[in-house]
């Protein structure tokens, strides 16, 4: 089964890689064919990637001594879920607005995270990265950390909710980059080919706002569930967890974005910078804090 999970992930990765290359080529080739093909391959890869996660979940739920929160307790599965959700949110964005060119700004981040997942597997068992995914999953299975917290159904929702919001923030980040390029060119009266092909400022501004508005309730709920859950298990100890604290900072940054955007009309460049800053905080929370938060650290191979 681990072999299947690894294989599905590997093919998903190769497909996503191909799709990202096609989206990047499209920026220069301007041929619709490239973006259409890229979109199809991306969709197919997302299905493989999702299947890989589903297999992992299925195995987890059939393990003796199964706990609902056992999954996503290692870097590989966490990165895998995060990157898949970025792709899924982008596919959603693309159905609403046929703006394939944004793929070049959003999808490389998903690919990067998938690459990091492979790197994690490689670090844990340094063979060829593709083959080592399987080894890693075996290893992770034997060392799977028992959750620090008692499990519950709500707890199982905590992680996917947060990752959905992170994925939407990642999309907003990519679109924010494109926005700033377009804005800069218009403001300085200099235009390149790219400027003439990027979506309008207005469209991108609204897309960023919509993504953040959709993600914020998920972030709030995910965070709230985590806190309620931790509070019921630890009492007040959750307050001292660095990840929880940092996540509250992330929450505050996006809350500030929404308030400034909708109540104080912070449209345009300042809003885009804020969405970029927000995602930087997300990355710190996601990548950095796990090393110092006991409750949120992931199993890595060396720890066996």
């Amino acid at each position: 089964m681990q072999k299947l999970q690894a294989l599905l992930f590997d093919f998903g990765f190769l497909g996503t890689l191909t799709a990202v290359i096609l989206y990047l080529v499209y920026v220069f080739s301007r041929r619709e064919g490239h973006s259409v093909l890229g979109h199809r391959i991306l969709f197919g890869s997302a299905l493989l990637h999702a299947a890989s996660l589903a297999v992992g979940l299925w195995m987890e739920s059939h393990r003796p001594g199964h706990v609902a929160y056992g999954f996503w307790s290692n870097w590989f599965e966490s990165l895998s879920l995060f990157s898949l959700l970025i792709v899924v949110v982008f596919l959603g964005v693309q159905t609403r607005a046929r703006l394939a060119i944004l793929g070049a700004f959003v999808l490389p981040w998903a690919l990067l995270l998938m690459g990091l997942a492979l790197t994690q597997a490689f670090l844990a068992s340094p063979r060829c990265p593709f083959a080592s995914v399987e080894d890693f999953l075996k290893l992770a299975d034997t060392t799977r950390r028992l959750p620090v917290l008692p499990s519950s159904v709500w707890a199982a929702v905590h992680v996917p909710l947060l990752f959905f919001s992170y994925a939407a923030f990642a999309n907003a980040f990519g679109i924010g980059l494109a926005f700033l390029i377009q804005e800069r060119q218009l403001k300085t009266h200099r235009s390149t080919d790219l400027g003439y092909r990027l979506p309008s400022l207005d469209e991108m501004d609204r897309m960023i706002a919509r993504l953040i508005s959709a993600a914020f309730p998920a972030l709030t709920m995910g965070l709230g569930l985590g806190i309620v859950w931790a509070h019921s298990a630890w009492g007040d100890r959750w307050v001292s967890d660095p990840k929880v604290l940092w996540s509250i900072v992330v929450w505050a940054v996006y809350l500030a974005y929404l308030v400034l955007r909708y109540a104080f009309n912070w449209r345009g460049r300042r809003g885009a910078y804020l969405s970029l800053a927000g995602f930087a905080f997300v990355l710190v929370s996601y990548m950095g804090i796990n090393y110092i938060s006991k409750a949120h650290s992931y199993v890595v191979g060396e720890k066996q």
Partner: protein, 361 residues
């Protein structure tokens, strides 16, 4: 063995007064094509007539006098033989290559312009309706249209705006996207402003307001544009509502200073404001450009961008020319086979996803 001949003149060889003398109106076209058959013995003929060129493509007997007869028929359109010196004549591969270059926009006044492709198609359709096309012209003109399309998709020859009005429209699109919900405010009435408004109107821009010092003048202009008239007293209010402001007054001082624009921005709730200042001296204080969410372009900015965009097109001419040459060479074996009365295979694939970016107006 019949051969393809081309005789014509274009903006490269003749001024517009001469070109217009040769223009053939639609109703006279069938008779003209018919006359070629009798006078020149042309089995097939297509007349490509635009404001920049008049060219006859004809399948004629091989003898040299056919060219002479073609020239004569063309000149007979106006009965003026003094134009003969500005006519050019090409045959066989030369004529094929020329048609491909024309279709690709390489021979146009504005390199890569999209209109010529439609004009080639129209000329061909008209000739076909007049039953003056045949095996060669059918294949050749279909081919020319395919070459015209693929050169435009594979090079940047028809990319980017080529005039100030079309640039203004494309900048507006880059700021606002769809223009149907945008309001335009026109202050003063210059010729360029009128062109810009027409270009915006063709993009279905929402409400257009025309402002002038006196209401009478504003009303007169508004009628011309299909717009709402107003006076300068209402400018501060209109600035809050407008998205695109086109200024071209003859005023000595500025019409919009920084403080006025900053105040309007407060009330605009963060919506961007696009100023097109084509007045000399300028109507909008240059420091307005420093304000957030304001995009101010004066006439120098606009002309600079247009010439930059034209320059980008020019830089693609060599590559586009190579592509045309390759397509012409690809066509040569088919043409030779046609002349020998046999057939050869012709590779043909037309890219489906294709769009021409045209100059509005």
């Amino acid at each position: 063995m019949n051969r393809l001949r081309l005789v014509g003149l274009s903006h490269r060889t003749a001024p517009v007064e001469w070109r217009e003398r040769l223009a053939v109106s639609d109703d006279r076209l069938p008779a003209f094509l018919d006359s070629l058959r009798f006078m020149v013995g042309a089995g097939e003929a297509v007349l490509l007539s635009t404001c920049n060129r008049v060219e006859v493509y004809a399948v004629t007997p091989p003898e040299g006098e056919a060219e002479c007869l073609l020239r004569k028929s063309l000149l007979a359109l106006h009965g003026d033989v003094s134009l003969d010196g500005s006519l050019y004549a090409l045959e066989d591969e030369g004529a094929i290559r020329h048609l491909f270059r024309v279709a690709a926009g390489l021979d146009s006044l504005v390199v890569g312009e999209a209109e010529i492709l439609g004009q080639v198609k129209r000329s061909y359709d008209q000739a076909r309706q007049a039953a003056s096309t045949g095996k060669l012209t059918n294949v050749l003109f279909q081919r020319a249209m395919y070459v015209g399309k693929s050169v435009r998709t594979e090079t940047k020859i028809s990319e980017g705006p080529t005039s100030v009005p079309s640039l203004a429209v494309s900048l507006a699109h880059r700021i606002f996207g769809e223009l149907s919900e945008c309001h335009a405010l026109v202050v003063g009435a210059g010729a360029m402003a009128e062109l810009a408004v027409r270009a915006l109107k063709s993009q279905k821009v929402g409400r257009v307001v025309v402002a002038n010092r006196t209401l009478e003048k504003a009303v007169a202009m508004a009628q011309q544009f299909g717009a709402h008239p107003t006076t300068f007293d209402a400018l501060s209010r209109e600035l809050v509502l407008a998205d695109i402001v086109i200024c071209s007054t003859g005023a000595k001082g500025t019409i919009f200073n920084r403080a006025a624009v900053a105040q309007a921005l407060e009330e605009r709730r963060g919506r961007p404001l696009f100023f097109i200042d084509i007045a000399v001296p300028r109507d909008v204080d240059p420091s307005v450009d420093e304000l957030e969410n304001v995009y101010l372009y004066n006439i120098d900015d606009l002309e600079g961008l247009v010439s930059e965009s034209l320059g980008r097109r020019e830089s693609e001419i060599a590559r586009a020319g190579q592509l045309v040459d390759a397509k012409a060479n690809e066509f040569a074996p088919w043409y030779d086979a046609w002349r020998r009365g046999t057939t050869a295979a012709l590779r043909h694939h037309v890219r489906e996803s294709f769009s021409v970016e045209g100059d509005p107006g």
